[in-house]
């Protein structure tokens, strides 16, 4: 009994102990002892939660062959309360188990007169911290394994593929509580179940026998692009909006205040907080109204379909964004700037872009085609494509001692031409420069009224560096926008010209804002502080006015992306980071038992890595597909993994329970078994097989 290795092998996934986490198989001990008082009646006292916390337990006279359903029936009669009791069930406190099998007798459960039973609803409110930092209050199932509870929550929130998420005990925030708790806004979803049948949904999830009918009720058929239960009232719609629209960038102070892991070891600590998927909430000490975090746990995101995955995508983005801001995952400065630019873009677009799901792609095509045609024609009739006639200063090379010379510039299609003066602009230009494929960089200092456009123009001999100095902001914005479009081969007639100008203006505006005011108006569209787009490290490294041009620089490459594309792009870059997907666990290897030196195990979607804490280097990599089997010795809390080629590792985990490590590995293997053909149905059983382990006991 005590040493019960859960033995798995991949990919065969064979399991020595069949695990049925939901089932409550009677223990042999209790069975035998309960046989004697057979027909005698005895008193069973049950506390009914609905009578109030101080009410005395209800006492029933029962015999051991009474089944649980009968107990409940008599209990309800006795309370004299008329209400819907369908969600209620009996919780056996000493044994930490629910008596969900109503046909089982008390004897079978092994219940005696000394049992402390609690009759209470299975669904209770829970405060759920979302990846976007917002707290939601909703009913969650306390009686089913966390995995199923999670499925219910995700269904309610309209997040597909709940297997990728899990619940996390939050970090203690005792210090913050004083000032924060009062102000924190909590979105309340607790009323949903009663009115709309989502409860039934949750219900049906917890009871396999109630499936078919309710399932179609709960299927996310959309009203106005949202699940039915969100379309009920404006309040609910607001909640859905919160779920599906990205949050504005947080104020830099907020970011700075948050806990940031300083090292890999710190990062390892967070992973000790994951809840056990195979046990229910209440068994893990979670009580009504407790706070939990909902997070993506397995970084193998399957089949993201922007059309259906609005909430999922948004929340995933939020989690990614925070992991960047809090330096949970390391990135280079260039990457940080790009992340910043994308965040800026996303927040802008998400605030302005109404969700247009209706218009067909074909019509869009046509519209844009027509639009461009119109513009083209405008351009040809009124020469819009060369509408910019401006006097600009020009300096071919930075090193030239001569300063800027004034010329008359003309922008035509993707080229600029310059002339000595406006009068000569009818004739041959001094030079014509095609900007296609060139690099455009800003060099702007609002305070000094310096508006420079730096052009790196490719030529067979190399890159020509050219500076254009504009006279004012307006001119700069126009020319900058034109240069950018031209570098991408688009002419001024392109429809994106105006929006490009606008975004340049707004970026200039950001530079103009006084640094002292930035904390107070973080969410205001016009004054997004660029510090709120990067991790606190860069707050110190750069002043706002240094940071802004850098982000603007990166921004020009993403400025034309749609919201979905921008989100996807953000996630792609995030996933391309070398450290992406690593969950760290500190462990001790047996080999070095004596040394007591902690090492860090990184668990990635496809491999395990061992990290040397001293250097921070990856010392060893083991891939799952080379893994033959892994065992958990639940007794001494040790894991042993065997790889092909006679590689064995054994370790005990320090910062997390071995169940968590076990679940991580099993979970990732489960993720890799998903395939398109069977993606519709979640193979719950397999998940539990792979992650449940010791529940077999």
């Amino acid at each position: 009994m005590c040493v019960s290795p859960a033995l798995f092998s991949f990919p065969g996934v064979c399991l020595l102990h069949s695990v049925r986490p939901v089932s409550f198989a009677p223990r042999s001990l209790s069975l035998s002892s309960s046989r004697s008082p057979r027909m005698a009646g005895w008193d069973l006292s049950v506390t009914v939660e609905d009578l109030g916390p101080d009410a005395p337990p209800v006492t029933l006279s029962v015999t051991s062959d009474l089944h649980v359903g009968g107990v409940i029936l008599r209990l309800v009669e006795k309370t004299q309360i008329k209400r819907d009791w369908s969600d209620h069930a009996i919780w056996w406190e000493q044994k930490q188990r629910w008596l969900l099998r109503t046909s089982w007798t008390l004897e079978k459960y092994g219940i005696h007169a000394d049992a402390r039973l609690l009759y209470m609803p299975q669904h209770k409110p829970l405060k759920l911290g979302l990846p976007n930092g917002i707290t939601l209050r909703l009913h969650a199932c306390f009686s089913s394994p966390v995995f199923q509870t999670l499925m219910g929550i995700c269904r309610m929130l309209n997040i597909r593929h709940p297997e990728e998420l899990s619940l996390l005990r939050p970090l203690e925030e005792k210090k913050k509580k004083k000032d924060k708790d009062s102000a924190e806004e909590i979105y309340d979803l607790t009323e949903v179940p009663r009115s709309s049948g989502t409860l039934i949904t949750l219900h049906s999830l917890s009871r396999p026998d109630m499936h078919t009918y309710e399932e179609w009720l709960s299927r996310p058929c959309l009203y106005n692009g949202m699940p039915a239960h969100f379309a009920d009232s404006p309040k609910m719609e607001a909640i859905y909006k919160m779920l599906s629209v990205t949050q504005p960038p947080p104020a830099p102070e907020v970011v700075a205040k948050q806990y940031r892991p300083a090292s890999v070891v710190d990062k390892a600590h967070i992973n000790g907080r994951w809840l056990d998927s195979s046990r229910c909430l209440i068994q893990q000490g979670i009580r009504e109204n407790d706070r939990l975090w909902l997070r993506f746990k397995y970084f193998a995101f399957y089949d993201i379909e922007p059309k259906y995955d609005v909430v999922r995508l948004t929340q995933l983005y939020e989690q990614a964004r925070w992991s960047i801001l809090l330096e949970d995952i390391d990135c280079t400065e260039e990457e940080m700037m790009l992340f910043g630019a994308l965040q800026y873009h996303i927040s802008k677009v998400s605030q302005s872009e109404p969700k247009l799901l209706s218009s067909s792609a074909a019509m869009d095509d046509l519209e844009s085609a027509l639009q461009s045609l119109e513009v083209k024609m405008d351009g040809e009739s009124s020469s819009a494509s060369e509408m910019l006639h401006v006097t600009i200063c020009f300096r071919p090379k930075k090193l030239t001692l001569k300063g800027y010379k004034q010329y008359w510039f003309k922008f035509q299609d993707t080229s600029i031409s310059y002339y000595k003066s406006k009068e000569e602009s009818i004739g041959e230009p001094i030079q014509q420069i095609n900007l296609r494929g060139c690099e455009v960089a800003p060099d702007v200092n609002m305070a000094a009224q310096k508006f420079l456009i730096r052009l790196l123009i490719p030529a067979p001999e190399g890159m020509n560096e050219v500076y254009l100095r504009c006279e004012n902001e307006q001119q700069y914005a126009q020319w900058m926008a034109a240069c950018r479009l031209a570098s991408k081969g688009k002419s001024l007639a392109d429809s994106s010209f105006q929006s490009e100008i606008k975004s340049i203006h707004s970026f200039l505006a950001m530079q103009r804002t006084n640094p002292s005011s930035h904390g107070n108006t973080p969410a205001n569209d016009e004054s997004i502080n660029t510090h709120s787009l990067v991790s606190p490290r860069y707050h110190k490294k750069y002043k706002t006015k240094q940071l802004t041009p850098r982000i603007l620089d990166a921004y020009q490459n993403v400025a034309q992306l749609s919201l979905t594309d921008a989100l996807t792009r953000f996630l792609q870059i995030w996933q391309a980071l070398p450290d992406f997907g690593l969950s760290y666990i500190t462990f001790l290897t047996n080999r070095f038992k004596g040394s007591r030196k902690d090492e860090v195990l990184g668990i990635a979607p496809n491999r395990l890595i061992r990290i040397d804490l001293g250097v921070g280097d990856v010392v060893k990599t083991w891939r799952y597909n080379n893994m033959k089997q892994w065992n958990v010795n639940w007794d001494i809390r040790q894991m042993a993994i065997e790889f092909e080629g006679n590689v064995n590792i054994a370790f005990s985990c320090v910062t997390a329970d071995c169940k968590i490590v076990h679940e991580f590995i099993g979970g990732y293997i489960f993720m890799s078994t998903r395939s398109r053909e069977k993606s519709d149905t979640l193979n719950e059983e397999l998940f539990h097989k792979l992650t449940g382990g010791h529940e077999a006991l």
Partner: protein
């Protein structure tokens, strides 16, 4: 012989466009030179005529069309587009265009089967295209604008073409016999060796050229639409409107398509010439080359660009457009394009472990199983984004502008190449960005040890594709061994291109699989092909792009000249006819759709259609028969000279035929078509479709000639005899001699031809 003229032409045309660099063929051919002088003169004349024609066309169009379009200026049209009238206008235009295309389709379909027919059809197609875009020729350099013009010209030309076609057909009926006799001579004069080859190339090129236009037109405007469109006028369905506008826009786009003629020199000293369209990606070009070279089509075949000045080489990725990088070459560039096998191209998909598990020792890597490879590929390429192998190595960097090489610890990330600054850790936050991939490509360096005193010869470099000469903006990196170099270059490619590399690989794999099956079958069938094929296989191709033209231009030259010439050549040389089948099919259908489809489709068509051809024209039919074996022709084609033939021949051939047979040439093309139509009806079951069209066909046949003029003449030539299908013929005669010389001004030549035609009537 034929080949050389083609080259000439290309060259000359090239000069017309300063942007383009061209390489002359290494072996100049005397015969060509002789022909040159006359042509050049012709060019100038020709140029003027088209313009005149244009105006004339416009006027005619006014009278004919129900809508007010003709009177409307370009800008007005824009306005109109927004109004309800647009429907009526478009439906009118499109209806008429439909008629035209219908007829064309019929013709084209029938011709493909028979060599003679094919030539005529190609002529027609070419002519149509030509006509559509003639006005564009005037502004070769301004590719961006003139959309509207093109649209107008397009529409107008089509209308005129249909009208003229009818007239021309009538004429053609009357004068069927003359053309055949005349035609043969020109080819002979050109080259005794390859009479057939020129024809075949012409046909192929013509088809290629025409494909875009014809395909687009035909697909959107199948026979049914024309009828439907007119009724719909009143209904004004939104959808119809949308379709039409789209169609119009597509046409606008096509008008802007750039084309390059690329001369391909093979490794063994021979060469192939291809017409590359701006929209074609490297994959399509490779497929074309497979077709021409009969190589084994394995996934390693690549198109590589070399720059002798910088001593670098890069394989184009299959999804890249070929034309764009070629445009970056300087005029005097000695750059070449190679067609060769490069094992490292897709090595990452064959042995992913060497890239993703490079840290492991060789033993472990060798032991890796196929299944593990699959998993690696899936992991790294099938996710939301491709995963870049995390490479880290000490590389030698050539410092900007200095001769020395300096070692640094570099890391590759998806976002770029970074290095670890001195005294810092390797953590991400400390890395310094060396370079990002947005604007650069990665190239292999050759013999840098000698040139730059690099520590080893395993160098790669990163530069903006436009940079063609040594510059401080080129980053040179040197690795300790070949393995590291391949690791890095491949890693950079993955970072730059991501999952599209894998897509490319899958496509290439499919292609290789299919082709192997196909080649097995085909090889046995044709005895002739076998001999040519071996040579081809050996060949690596050098492609020089000879000239770049607009879509129109390219189409024009081949059409004018090519259209006419093809017919003549077929009669004399049997082999030439054979060539037709292979080449035409590809072009006629979709150019991109890989060769396989094209080949398969054309072959079946042959047998069926052949019978009908016999009837019509005694000479051509006879000729046709030999070709029936599709493969042999291909083989001929593939043989050394033929390579050029495809693209250039058309232009060349067209030129030559045009001058000599101005008056007579016109009639010939139409008659064959006509006859086919009539006669073909009974025998060929597949053709039945044609039968109904027959009425329209006459129009189309006339149309081609008309089309040619309209494009050229759209503006100024009002009355000029639309019936003069002959223009093509005359053009061919004239072109034969001076085609090469005319290279400088295709346009002018065309114009000249046009004028002659007119005078003839």
């Amino acid at each position: 012989m034929c080949v050389s003229p083609c080259k000439r032409i290309c060259v000359s045309s090239f000069h017309a466009f300063p942007d383009m660099t061209c390489q002359l063929s290494r072996r100049p051919r005397p015969s060509n030179e002789n022909s040159l002088p006359p042509r050049s003169t012709d060019h100038n004349k020709l140029i003027d005529t088209p313009q005149n024609l244009d105006s004339g066309q416009l006027e005619t169009r006014e009278s004919n069309s129900k809508s007010d379009l003709s009177a409307v200026s370009m800008s007005d049209i824009c306005l109109l587009l927004q109004m309800d009238d647009i429907d009526a206008m478009f439906s009118d235009l499109l209806g008429e265009m439909d008629l035209l295309t219908q007829s064309l389709e019929q013709e084209t379909a029938a011709p493909t089967s028979l060599p003679t027919t094919t030539t005529t059809t190609t002529n027609n197609n070419k002519e149509v295209n030509f006509s559509i875009f003639t006005d564009l020729n005037e502004s070769l350099h301004e590719l961006e604008d003139t959309d509207l013009d093109a649209l107008m010209a397009d529409l107008v030309a089509d209308l005129n073409a249909t009208e003229e076609k009818l007239a021309a057909e009538i004429q053609g009926l009357k004068v069927p016999s003359p053309p055949p006799p005349d035609l043969p001579p020109p080819p002979k004069g050109l080259s005794a060796h390859h009479p057939a080859s020129p024809a075949s190339p012409a046909g192929s090129t013509g088809s290629n050229v025409s494909t875009p236009a014809s395909s687009s037109a035909s697909s959107p405007l199948p026979p049914p639409p024309p009828q439907s469109t007119k009724p719909t006028k009143e209904e004004i369905e939104a959808q119809m409107k949308a379709d039409k506008i789209k169609l119009a826009l597509e046409k606008l786009k096509e008008a802007k398509v750039k084309k390059l003629v690329v001369k391909v020199l093979l490794n063994d000293g021979s060469s192939k010439t291809l017409m590359v369209d701006e929209r074609q990606n490297v994959r399509e070009v490779l497929d074309n080359l497979f077709e021409k070279t009969h190589c084994d089509c394995n996934v390693d075949w690549s198109l590589c660009e070399t720059n002798p000045e910088l001593q670098l080489e890069r394989a184009f990725e299959d999804h890249e457009n070929l034309v764009e990088p070629l445009l970056a070459w300087t005029r005097d560039s000695e750059n070449k394009i190679l067609f060769k096998e490069r094992g490292e191209k897709y090595e990452v998909f064959k042995n992913p472990q060497t890239f993703y598990l490079w840290k492991k020792d060789n033993k472990a890597l060798k032991a890796i199983k196929d299944k593990d490879k699959e998993i690696l590929i899936k992991e790294n390429f099938c996710g939301t984004s491709a995963i870049v192998p995390d490479l880290e190595a000490v590389l030698h960097l050539k410092e900007d502008g200095k001769k020395s090489w300096r070692q640094r610890l570099f890391q590759l990330r998806a976002s770029g190449i970074y290095y670890v600054p001195k005294g810092k850790t390797k953590s991400s936050r400390d890395l310094v960005c060396f370079l990002q991939f947005d604007n650069v490509n990665v190239y292999y360096g050759k013999d840098f040890k000698g040139k730059y005193k690099a520590p080893t010869d395993f160098c790669f470099l990163l530069k903006h594709p436009q940079i063609q000469k040594d510059s401080q903006y080129i980053k040179y990196l040197c690795c300790d061994d070949a393995c590291t170099m391949n690791l890095w270059v491949t890693g950079i490619r993955i970072a730059k291109y991501g999952a599209s590399l894998y897509e490319n690989f899958k496509t290439a794999e499919k292609r290789a699989a299919v082709s192997s099956v196909w080649t097995n079958r085909s090889a046995p069938s044709c005895s002739n092909p076998s001999t040519p094929s071996p040579t081809i296989k050996v060949s690596t191709t050098f492609v020089h792009f000879l000239f770049m033209m607009r879509y129109l231009l390219s189409s024009l030259s081949p059409q004018d000249v090519g259209g006419v010439p093809p017919p003549p050549p077929p009669p004399p040389p049997l082999p030439s006819t054979s060539t037709f089948p292979p080449s035409p099919p590809e072009p006629v259908f979709a150019p991109p759709p890989p060769p396989l489809a094209a080949k398969s489709s054309p072959k079946p068509a042959f047998p069926q259609q052949h019978p009908p051809p016999n009837f019509p024209l005694p000479p051509p039919p006879a000729m046709d028969f030999p070709p029936p074996p599709p493969l042999p022709p291909i083989a001929d084609h593939s043989e050394a000279p033929p390579d050029f033939l495809p693209p250039p021949p058309p232009s060349f051939g067209s030129l030559s035929p045009l001058p000599p047979l101005p008056g007579k040439s016109l009639p010939p093309p139409p008659p064959p078509c006509f006859r086919r139509m009539d006669q073909s009806l009974p025998p060929p079951p597949p053709d039945p479709g044609f039968l109904p069209p027959p009425p329209p066909p006459p129009a189309p046949t006339a149309a081609p000639s008309a089309a040619v003029r309209p494009s050229g003449s759209v503006r100024k030539m009002p009355p000029p005899p639309p019936k003069r299908t002959t223009p093509t013929l005359p053009a061919g005669g004239g072109g034969g001699g001076g085609g090469e010389g005319g290279g400088g001004d295709f346009m002018s030549e065309l114009m000249k031809a046009m004028q002659k035609k007119r005078s003839v009537p």
